[in-house]
Symmetry: C2
Subunit: 597 residues, 2 copies
């Protein structure tokens, strides 16, 4: 084990030989930029290692000795300004909590007001518009002591017209909030200073519910079939969040009690599970959630370790399959604002699509299937070291892997690349069929011809020969793999077509396409466009917006008018339920075909 | 042990020989009228005992065999209409909760609204004015199951614009609330049907905090000096209330979950302790409570065993010594309404007085001392069996005791009687001094002259000769006892004088005097007036209003506009702090004198 120290954070950890600096940093809660997902390609995670002449990529540099690592601000995850691509204006700073430092007169026989009356009068003397009219019971319980602890010099913490906490002395400097993105796979929590809007730290971790299954459906199933499943799943995510909160507080020195607000964006199932609300009906037609409006609840009620009277704001959604995360994406990409035609796509197991024709908003969700996450693909894998993520076909096949080591399988972005290149080379036809060697056009080289084979009784294409792969076995793309990918791309493009029709817009009219979510950052848009996963629009109109759901949660944290906007969006969005409609079925079959070259 | 059955309740119990029927009834939770406090004098507790020719007084009739007792409605405690004496109009029925039975369309692919949207729309279709806009998290947690348990046929329970509970099927028939009077000594809880305003049952018990001391000061002391004292005192009263709630539910068959509202009136200390708010500052000059506004809190938060989302409304007060109980008394006696001059007095260890001059309200509290509760009096005792409660002086002394047995001591009402009679006989002069035998007027009989004696070195008057008392010892009233009583009466009448002066009213102008509280029912008003404890006004203007604080709590339970009225009263009342003011000190000395005959 070697000791790794991080500067200027002053944090250190011990890690086994061979762990990357990126992983070591995560261990102490420092999240680095990794637009490429730690594949060594984006160069966003540069750090300075004592003894090295030049900065190194944290995702590639492995620990082989004790070391001191200095991390520049520019390499830190989420330190960038909210949404450089999507925003159309500055974010206001109107947090849901306010602090007032007051020094009311001490009680005397001439001034017998109770502590709460005295406090309210002093606070209201500083408010011009709407006056406070209530002190909550939990604040009342603190009040007599806090008043007298510091000679009637105290800070009131207010939400709306209510004082919900009191603190001795002047604590106005400490006003913190958390923005949370609860994904099915990953949970990201950012700590923000509500005084200036600064993101001071971000931590991320795997959603601890994954042990109950990778996807939403398996979580719902677990909630139904496990004893106290719902409670257990809720407990897991709450514990996971508390761990991240604890990390953030330790890293920054912020007191949990001085975090007063949390905003949470998640898909419908994640939000229900977080709140301990039954999800059984989400998995069965006609797919109904218990709620779709925003929910406000105290931190104490959920067991989240911030100020017990802190408020947790859970994003509104539209329907079981278009949840708060999609609303947060629309909020962050400002799809509700422009008079142009904007489209946001978040590709995962479900593809969520939202379209604005400049006036109206519509959204839908399609079961894209797990092909683009590497599942149900013969040699598919998640985007980890050894996964083929780029495929180039010229005279022969060239592949690039995450981490640049010998390939072990293929991930989603590699799959899209491979399909695009095979189409381009004329090895796959637009129906998705591998041509036979006899049918191949003359332009196909002998090296490529040799790669066409039969695998498990199907036509297949050898991407990596056994000698070049890590485990000495061929990595192939089979006919069935192509079909899986076709299903996924058909679902998404049919969903898009439904939205376009609904809002009477053509593909050509799309002014901007926002590609949201982790996956969006990894794919080559030209390949995705080639296979028809993305519509045929100029690349210049495609914007990668990263974790836009987390950005939306931050907007709502910093500015309560953004919450009203999110609720307005949720009401305005036309939801298209695709399951079972004839139009969609028809389009879906049509879109199984790849675009002609 | 004998078995006693109560009809028409159908309840039975086993009691030892010699217990009164009143006590046996209490054992099964039936509270009988006992205006006289179970002394056998008021005749309000008449019951029919099988085998007895005529109705008997339950407080005197002892159990000496198995028996069946039938209790007429007229003998039940609190079954009478709210405040026959004080009310000036009918009570409205506008409870804080409403129920809506709804049968929304079931979800389908054409109607994908979430459960909560569906519910809100169905409820709002039945509301004409202000629409509901929120479903609380606890209701959301019940909603999916409740919807589907009964084919989307359910009842929503609403408060303000919020649905806070849902129940399967049509439960509109069950809508209950509790009115609570938390006294320092006694806790009274009434169960009311919020559909028709009927009081269906009432239970009372000793405040379980009494083991920490009889009075407010000793409770405050205990909260400070006992480890976790505040929490323990709170726990005690909550447990006591839960026991009463349990009794009421068992007696009536009402489900605790279908009780949705509680209103509580108590003095400032009792309300603070109930809510778990520190009371330390109430006992120290300048006597400041943590709050004086009304407090709303969920039953769940306090641990009260009704519907967990039920609301507990705690009455607003004015100052540390004029609390929610006084506001409830003003509410019930409608002191804020009339254009006449009305006075309400509640005599206990503290005497609380509220005066209206038809336009303005003023209130004060005076430390009457415990003399009228039998404490600090040589042979004083509480109003229990054997206590002298009536004294007549003609040629000699005649006394009447509670229970009519041989006397063992003297209680508050007996003390007042004795003082009035001694003044009238010319044995005490208006300064409160016992005349010497030589000074006595000729009208004083030899038998009375013989009763003047010296006791512990002081002048004293023998009320009961040793031979007539239960324990064979004389029961005397000493000069010091007279002084104690003078202090009490001086405090109250000086307080009244301060109020009269403040509102520029004279005694003669008082149109009505409401005597509230248990003690008020026991005293002879002419005696209280004779010694100057009550002002010199015609007896016809004096009204006994019993437990007016409990009545006020019931008003606020049945009609939320009465809560706004209570809050308005609390804001309007001029509070006079008497402690330490020169005027009061001066008046207090003056009022030490008894009125001239």
């Amino acid at each position: 084990m070697f000791k790794v120290q991080f500067q200027p954070d002053g944090l250190s950890t011990h890690v086994p030989e061979g762990m990357t600096v990126l992983a070591a940093a995560e261990q102490v809660g420092i999240v680095l930029n990794s637009v490429c997902g730690g594949r060594g390609t984006c160069g966003k995670c540069l750090v300075e290692v004592e003894g090295e002449a030049a900065p190194v990529k944290a995702c590639l540099h492995v620990v082989a000795r004790d070391m001191v690592v200095t991390i520049p601000e520019t390499s830190r995850f989420f330190e960038q300004k909210i949404l450089s691509a999507g925003t159309s204006g500055p974010v206001g700073l109107r947090p849901g909590v306010e602090k007032y430092f007051v020094q009311p007169a001490e009680p005397s026989l001439d001034d017998l007001r109770s502590d709460s009356e005295r406090l309210l009068a002093a606070v209201n003397a500083q408010r011009s518009d709407i006056l406070c009219n209530n002190v909550t019971l939990s604040a009342l319980r603190q009040l007599p002591l806090i008043c007298r602890q510091n000679g009637f010099s105290l800070t009131a913490v207010c939400r709306n017209q209510e004082i919900f906490a009191v603190e001795a002395g002047d604590t106005r400097e400490s006003l913190w909030g958390l923005a949370v993105d609860v994904g099915t796979t990953t949970v990201v929590v950012s700590l923000l200073n509500l005084r200036d809007g600064e993101i001071v730290a971000t931590s991320a971790r795997t959603n601890p519910q994954v042990s109950f299954g990778d996807d939403v459906i398996s979580r719902i199933e677990a909630s139904r079939t496990t004893e106290n499943g719902l409670q257990i799943l809720q407990k897991r995510i709450i514990e996971g969040l508390n761990q991240l909160i604890d990390e953030l507080c330790q890293k920054t020195g912020v007191e949990p009690d001085q975090i007063y607000e949390i905003t949470v964006a998640g898909n419908t199932t994640m939000e229900h599970l977080l709140l301990g609300v039954s999800v059984g009906q989400i998995a069965q037609a006609p797919y109904i959630g218990a709620f779709s409006s925003a929910v406000n609840v105290t931190a104490n009620n959920l067991g989240l370790n911030i100020n017990p009277s802190g408020n947790v704001y859970v994003f509104p959604g539209v329907a079981a399959h278009v949840g708060g995360d999609t609303i947060a994406v629309i909020l962050a990409t400002r799809l509700d604002e422009p008079s142009e035609i904007h489209l946001a796509i978040d590709i995962g197991t479900n593809g969520e699509l939202a379209l604005s024709n400049g006036k109206h908003l519509a959204a839908c969700s399609t079961a894209a299937g797990p092909a683009f996450e590497g599942a149900r693909i013969r040699h598919g894998m998640r985007g980890a070291a050894g996964a083929i993520e780029r495929v180039f076909i010229r005279e022969d096949v060239e592949v690039a892997t995450i981490g640049d080591g010998p390939p072990t399988g293929i991930c989603g972005s590699g799959l899209i690349d491979a399909l695009a290149e095979l189409l381009q080379a004329g090895i796959l036809d637009s129906s998705g069929r591998f041509l036979t060697v006899e049918e191949l056009p003359d332009s196909v080289s002998p090296a490529l011809r040799e790669r066409l084979c039969s695998y498990d009784g199907q036509a297949a294409f050898i991407l990596v020969h056994p000698s070049a792969s890590k485990h000495g076995q061929a990595i192939v793309l089979s006919q069935r793999d192509v079909r899986e990918a076709q299903v996924g791309k058909a679902a998404i493009s049919a969903g898009l077509e439904m939205l376009l029709r609904h809002l009477k817009v053509s593909t050509m009219q799309i002014d901007r396409l926002y590609l949201a979510g982790a996956f969006g950052n990894y794919i080559r848009p030209q390949s995705a466009r080639r296979i028809g996963l993305l519509p045929d629009i100029p690349l210049a109109k495609i914007f990668f917006v990263g974790n836009a759901a987390a950005d939306g949660a931050r907007l709502a944290l910093l500015d309560i008018t953004q919450r009203r906007r999110a609720e307005e969006i949720a009401r305005r969005v036309d939801y298209l339920e695709l399951a079972g409609t004839m139009d969609f079925q028809h389009l879906f079959s049509e879109k199984m075909f790849f675009p002609e070259p």
